[in-house]
């Protein structure tokens, strides 16, 4: 039986991970992620979760440890944040290239300097090109559910998936959610059967040298698998919805304006909740806009997004990460996806928050109210 609970975001994630029965956990503490692995280590200590918990001295070692354990055929888990994720960078490329499954939870936090521990999506956005799949979550429930779906997708695709929650905003907030029943998760997510693994009895070579032509072909195949991943993730989300009655998709239409609404706002992560309130409040003042959230950043759901935003005259993109010298990183992604539409909407690139700058419902409604003043070419800073 599914059960209702009230938990911190980080605890919810730990429960989600536990339901997936990882055989190996290795991570290094960093605010605001630490509670996740703390909770997991306590679960292992109490014997509630049968898993090898490997203590390491850095994030580099954490990712290396799970690279090893997954190579040997174990379902594994790691988590990090900010500078920690940046430290993993080299092995993030390697991991994806090795074609191994994994779920990594990243609690989004700013990168210094200056020193800042608060919510900011720059850490994971700057790992966009490592070959990992990336999913951004709005609520603790969504994060818990996404971990379960991510293991399933990851193991079918033999690709690693990074699941994002906003540091503090989700990780340190206690809220109500449903914890799925273990039997249902077991049924949805059978034990991991590695198609290939480290085995002295059956020797294989992993990650050996590839000559240029072979390397090119391997990467071409990788890219094709990423495209297939779009369909597979859809399929996993549909299957999950059938079983657990919670619906997720790559692009989600969160709040509908009226029929004549020609403006959409789009964002990803926990800010969507506050945006819902803003849009709701605005609808009472007769400004109708549609609100979308992007869950899947990699692979990018270009077709879904184009379909969702078709007919809109204006799309306001709320960014929590910046590609300095261009503008909001999410805005670039949206622009690219909409380029092929016959009637391309105006894209307003808004840098709404970095380093934990608080986003109130009024922050978002003011942007919408003053949308005519927003630049169409430059990044809009508050």
């Amino acid at each position: 039986m599914e059960k209702s609970a009230i938990l911190l975001g980080s605890e919810a994630i730990a429960h989600g991970v536990k339901l997936c029965r990882p055989q190996v956990i290795s991570a290094y503490p960093i605010t605001p992620q630490t509670h996740i692995i703390e909770t997991l280590s306590e679960m292992v200590d109490r014997g509630e979760l049968e898993s090898q918990y490997i203590k390491v001295e850095s994030e580099m070692s954490a990712i290396a440890a799970v690279l090893g354990s997954v190579s040997a055929g174990s379902r594994s888990f790691t988590a990090s944040s900010s500078q920690g994720l940046a430290m993993m960078h080299e092995l993030l490329h390697w991991y994806a290239g090795a074609r191994l499954p994994l779920v990594l939870v990243n609690a989004n936090r700013a990168l210094g300097a200056p020193w800042n521990i608060w919510s900011d999506q720059s850490d994971s956005f700057s790992q966009r090109d490592t070959g990992w799949l990336q999913i951004y979550c709005e609520t603790s429930q969504e994060a818990l559910d996404t971990i379960i779906m991510a293991y399933k997708a990851s193991e079918q695709l033999m690709l690693p998936i990074m699941v994002m929650i906003d540091g503090f905003i989700l990780s340190h907030t206690m809220e109500r959610l449903m914890i799925p029943a273990q039997e249902m998760v077991d049924d949805f997510l059978p034990p991991y059967k590695a198609p290939y693994q480290l085995d002295p009895g059956n020797p294989l070579t992993f990650g050996g040298a590839a000559q240029p032509d072979l390397f090119y072909e391997l990467k071409k195949a990788y890219s094709a698998t990423m495209q297939e991943a779009l369909g597979l993730i859809d399929q996993v989300q549909t299957e999950f919805a059938r079983k657990f009655e919670r619906h997720y998709s790559a692009v989600m239409h969160c709040q509908e304006g009226d029929k004549n609404s020609d403006t959409a706002i789009i964002c990803c992560g926990a800010m969507t909740g506050t945006a819902r309130v803003a849009v709701e409040n605005l609808s009472q003042t007769e400004i109708a806009v549609d609100l979308f959230k992007l869950r899947l950043l990699r692979p990018f759901p270009t077709t879904d997004l184009a379909a969702a935003l078709k007919g809109k005259k204006r799309v306001i993109v709320l960014n929590r990460a910046c590609s300095y010298g261009v503008g909001g990183t999410l805005s670039q992604e949206i622009r690219t996806a909409l380029y092929h539409l016959p009637d391309r909407p105006i894209i307003n690139d808004v840098m709404i928050s970095l380093g934990g700058k608080e986003v109130f419902p009024e922050t978002i409604s003011d942007i919408i109210k003053n949308r005519e003043q927003l630049s169409e070419t430059e990044c809009n800073w508050l």
Binding site: S119, H172, T173, M174, E175, R176, T274
Partner: protein
């Protein structure tokens, strides 16, 4: 209708734990609740705030509470340095852990009365209650259980039984004494 609480305390006083117990108790009454602290490194002694929202459906908003219905001040001295009544709703209430009479606090009221204020001021000496049940030390009384008892009484937000049911998950030691202190504060608050 959503209700919002803002706790003010010093790091180590238990404001964050109090907010969590409150959220858990609201959950036991089948309500939706959200609890979170001012985000940052937890530093002992530093002024901290923690927030609770309660509603009958899922709470979407994630920004900090700026217009609370209830403000709880766990260390009265903070009133000098922290604008604790900022945004306090009209008809709202501020609960202060202090031995002084409500009128002794100056929130812009000129006369020695709180009559003209747009919110109620309630004081209660929670330190004394905590110490009576052996919670903490003279220097650092542990008041998170009694503060909730007092808040339950003056706000009517939650039943004291629900708070008592929520205590074990957050208070590892001296559970019985915490329960007694919570009920004692519930009895005494607003008298």
């Amino acid at each position: 209708m959503m209700q919002e609480i803002r706790f003010h305390g010093r790091g180590g006083q238990g404001a964050v734990i109090a907010s969590k117990i409150m959220a858990q108790a609201l959950f036991f009454e089948d309500r939706y609740a959200q609890a979170f602290p001012t985000f940052g490194a937890e530093r002992r002694g530093a002024p901290v705030a923690a927030f609770v929202r309660a509603d009958d459906h899922f709470i979407n908003v994630r920004s900090r509470v700026t217009t609370p219905d209830f403000v709880v001040v766990m260390a009265a001295r903070m009133i000098e340095s922290v604008p604790v009544t900022d945004g306090l709703k009209e008809g709202g209430l501020i609960l202060i852990n202090s031995d002084l009479k409500a009128a002794k606090f100056n929130f812009g009221n000129t006369a020695s009365t709180t009559a003209g204020l747009p919110f109620r001021v309630v004081t209660i000496n929670l330190n004394r209650i905590a110490l009576k049940f052996g919670l903490g030390t003279e220097i650092m009384p542990l008041i998170n259980a009694p503060v909730l008892g007092a808040l339950a009484k003056v706000s009517g937000l939650v039943k004291p039984e629900s708070l008592i049911r929520a205590l074990p998950d957050f208070i590892p030691a001296r559970l019985k004494d915490n329960e007694k202190a919570l009920l004692a504060a519930y009895e005494k608050a607003g008298e």
